[in-house]
């Protein structure tokens, strides 16, 4: 079960993930990101501070946007991950492909520097 909240700060779209992302709820994550892109945001911050678990399907959603975002110059930064969630990203090597910040301040800094 996942609950997704969106709010905008300083021209950036902040997507907050609350709960667990498994195969079925990964569709909601996909929809939320697609919506944000569709609304024309080029700065997307994903708040993972309340994310308890993410399955490979959820990771696949982030992965699937990497190339598109590079091509369209859309900047996405994830932040606030717990050690456990961060470990899942690390093992798959997604930490090398995605921008990950420690907290919101750092994430904003990264997104503006890019």
């Amino acid at each position: 079960m996942i609950h997704i909240k969106r709010l905008q700060e300083d021209g950036a779209d902040i997507i907050a993930l609350i709960g667990e992302i498994d195969a079925s709820s990964s569709i909601e994550l996909d929809l939320a990101i697609a919506k944000s892109v569709g609304e024309g945001f080029i700065k997307i911050l994903v708040d993972c501070s309340a994310l308890e678990y993410i399955s490979s399907a959820g990771l696949g959603v982030f992965m699937s946007y990497i190339e598109e975002f590079n091509d369209r110059n859309i900047r996405m930064v994830l932040f606030g991950m717990s050690d456990k969630v961060a470990n899942t990203f690390d093992i798959l090597g997604l930490n090398e492909l995605l921008k990950i910040g420690k907290d919101k301040v750092q994430a904003k800094k990264i997104v503006n520097e890019l």
Binding site: S56, G60, I66, E67, L92, L94, L97
Partner: protein
């Protein structure tokens, strides 16, 4: 056994019928003989040899045998339908009339000779006619009994029993010339006539005749009535002429049974004729009702026999049209939000679309937008549409699980063409169609589910068959592997391949996602492994090539994590590359420590271009005797207990520490045992795969 019994019973009945017929004939002969004898004696003023009551008894015996003869013949015959019964009565009447006419002809030919005027000859003719009349009456009586009792009630059965047994009892009264008390005779006759009249009111069978059967019945009844009148006339004329000469003969005119029968049979024949005649105009209504019932059944049953929803729609359209005599109709089905499908009957798609648009344009609620009312007669709105031949329209929504899936519209060229009854009928039809479609969908779903399960079963078999049954062994190491998949098929894969006498490659991989696609990707991974590993590649190079190959088959969001090893038994070195797979757990016999390898590498399929080379790295380490390498998939570290806690990396490490010096198989057993003990269930929700290499 039952058949035999039935057969025996049948033969039994047949024999009795024959016997009764013979008895009837003999009693009639006896009647003729005794009656003639008594009459002859009396006419010649001789004291008769036979008692004068004997002919009466013979007549009653004759009646009794005929009564039971027809009872067996007509009442027990289940096959006879109404028209058959009327036909039998008619045929008996015809035979009686023809014989009687033939006798008249003989009389005419003999023309006023001494013989024809002789009383004995007259009596003989009379007795033959009497026998014919009684046969005819008994036949009609049995047939009418069946018609009257077609729809029984307790009360009706009692009345009939009284009538029948009363009549039979009157035979006793007639046999023993109990002093003819005028009032008793009159009362009895009156009671039977009244009972016969009341019984004649039961005409329910007429309603079950169709139009053609009614016409046939009318004709048969008319002729039957004609025969009855003729025979009554003949007999009454004969008794008259004999009675003028001598009273000593069997006169039916004082016979309660025969008289009651004459009245009853005649009345019922006339009643039936009239009732059928007056029922003729309403026959079509009754047939219509029957058809509605049949149509209704068709819709209900369509679910079992029809192959698609479309046939249910077509049946609904057909039955509704035929039930209300609509001139045209259409059925609009919203298969999804955008798409609408039209099924039409005697109307073009264009014409119906015009009407739909017209009604929509006038914001008419009821058909296309369901208001509070379920059905609506929208004829008044049709009047404003120019160029349309239709003047009446009736529309119904069709609901499946409370959702309006479409509308049924019926059209007539006449104004005010639909009445309340029709509205009700079609409403029932559309409700039933809704239920049928719902059932149909449920069945389809169940079938789909079954198919999906079957598919999963196949996928599971495929997945199992993709895993190697035998692993490479070497004097330098031993390998044990374990894989258990969840109900939902996962995509865990491991394999080994000997490149040459001192090089052996090992792979462990996990395909993201589940089900048939995961099994499919796993088979691709196997193909890639077996083709690339052959050519003795560096592990990082292997991954780059594998990634390149997979880019074209992995769909968006899918990836494969893998670790690939090449063991060199000559140099005792292992080269490997990790592409996003779970880190290797390693026991070093030198340091006596169990640790996770720290290395980098992105999973296959995540970077779908040439830059992947930058994200994969080759690593190398030396092994010594006693070292232990534990490979696994994330199903193990993510296995949860009842509290929702994960097995995790620490528990895995501790489990290996506990048995670090045992053989590969023993380490594996211990690990799996711990895992199941932790999760507390045999129902795993992900694949468990381990591969353990012990170096010698």
């Amino acid at each position: 056994m039952a058949f035999f019994g039935f057969n025996q019973h049948f033969v039994h009945t047949k024999a009795i019928t024959r016997l009764l017929f013979t008895v009837g004939f003999i009693t009639w002969l006896a009647l003729v003989f005794t009656d003639l004898s008594v009459l002859f004696s009396s006419a010649n003023d001789i004291k008769p040899d036979l008692p004068t009551w004997l002919p009466g008894v013979m007549l009653n015996l004759f009646i009794l045998s005929l009564f039971y003869y027809y009872k067996l013949k007509i009442e027990r015959d289940e096959v006879l339908n109404f028209v058959d019964l009327l036909w039998r009565v008619f045929a008996t009447g015809l035979v009686a009339t023809v014989v009687s006419l033939a006798l008249r002809l003989v009389e005419f030919l003999l023309n006023d000779t001494k013989l024809t005027t002789h009383i004995v000859f007259k009596d003989l003719i009379y007795l033959i006619n009497l026998g014919l009349m009684i046969s005819f009456l008994m036949m009609a009586f049995s047939a009418w009994k069946r018609l009257i009792l077609y729809q029984k009630s307790k009360w009706l059965l009692r009345l009939w029993a009284f009538f029948e047994f009363g009549l039979l009892a009157s035979l006793v009264y007639n046999s023993f010339k109990i002093p003819l008390v005028e009032w008793l005779y009159g009362t009895l006759l009156g009671i039977f006539v009244v009972a016969g009249l009341v019984l004649s009111g039961n005409m329910k069978w007429v309603a079950f005749l169709n139009f053609r059967q009614k016409w046939t019945s009318l004709l048969l009844l008319l002729l039957t009535i004609f025969y009855l009148l003729y025979i009554f006339y003949t007999n009454s004329a004969l008794t008259e002429s004999i009675g003028n000469i001598s009273p000593y003969f069997t006169d039916y005119r004082y016979h309660i049974f025969v008289l009651s029968l004459i009245v009853f049979v005649t009345i019922y024949s006339i009643f039936s004729f009239l009732v059928i005649l007056f029922n003729l105009p309403t026959t079509s209504v009754f047939e219509q009702k029957l058809e509605e019932v049949v149509n209704f059944q068709r819709i209900s049953q369509s679910i079992q026999t029809e192959q698609s929803e479309e046939s249910v729609y077509n049946i609904l359209l057909e039955t509704s049209v035929s039930s209300v005599f609509a001139d045209a109709a259409w059925l609009e089905i919203n298969s999804n939000a955008q798409e609408q499908k039209l099924f039409t009957y005697k109307i073009t798609d264009k014409e119906s679309q015009e009407i739909i648009n017209h009604l929509n344009a006038h914001h008419i609620k009821g058909v296309f937008d369901q208001g509070n009312e379920k059905t609506k007669n929208l004829s008044k709105h049709l009047a404003s549409l120019r160029g349309s031949r239709f003047r009446s329209i009736l529309a119904f929504p069709i609901y499946v699980k409370g959702e309006n899936i479409g509308n049924l519209a019926l059209l007539k060229e006449l104004p005010e063409g639909f009445n309340k009854e029709m509205t009700k009928i079609v409403s029932t039809f559309s409700n039933q169609a809704g239920i049928s479609i719902e059932n149909f969908r449920l069945m389809e779903e169940a079938l789909q589910n079954e198919r999906y399960k079957e598919e999963l079963k196949i996928a599971k078999t495929v997945q199992k068959s993709l895993l190697p049954t035998l692993l490479e062994q070497d004097k330098d190491f031993e390998i044990a592997a374990f894989s258990e998949s969840a109900d939902e098929v996962g995509g865990d894969y491991y394999d080994t391949l000997r490149i040459n006498d001192h090089l052996i490659s090992i792979i462990i991989a996990d395909v993201s996602g589940k089900g048939t696609t995961a099994a499919f990707h796993m088979s691709q991974m196997k193909g890639i492994f077996h083709s690339l590993a052959q050519s003795d590649m560096e592990p990082d190079n292997f991954m780059v090539h594998a990634n390149q190959a997979l880019v074209y088959c992995l769909e968006r969001g899918s990836f494969i994590s893998a670790t690939y090893f090449v063991i060199n038994t000559e140099t005792k070195k292992i080269k490997y590359a990790r592409a996003g797979h779970c880190p290797v757990l390693y026991y070093s016999s030198l340091s006596k420590q169990v640790t996770y390898f720290k290395d980098k590498g992105v999973a296959l399929g995540m970077v779908r271009n040439k830059t992947y080379t930058n994200f994969i790295h080759a690593y190398e380490f030396e092994y010594v005797q006693g070292d232990l390498m534990v490979l696994y998939t994330d199903g193990i570290t993510e296995a949860k207990n009842s509290k929702g806690e994960e097995f995790g990396y620490n528990r895995l490490l501790e489990s290996v520490e506990e048995v670090s010096s045992l053989s590969a198989a023993q380490v594996q057993d211990h690990l799996i045992k711990n895992l199941y003990a932790f999760s507390g269930t045999d129902n795993i929700d992900d694949d468990y795969t381990t591969m353990i290499v012990r170096f010698n």
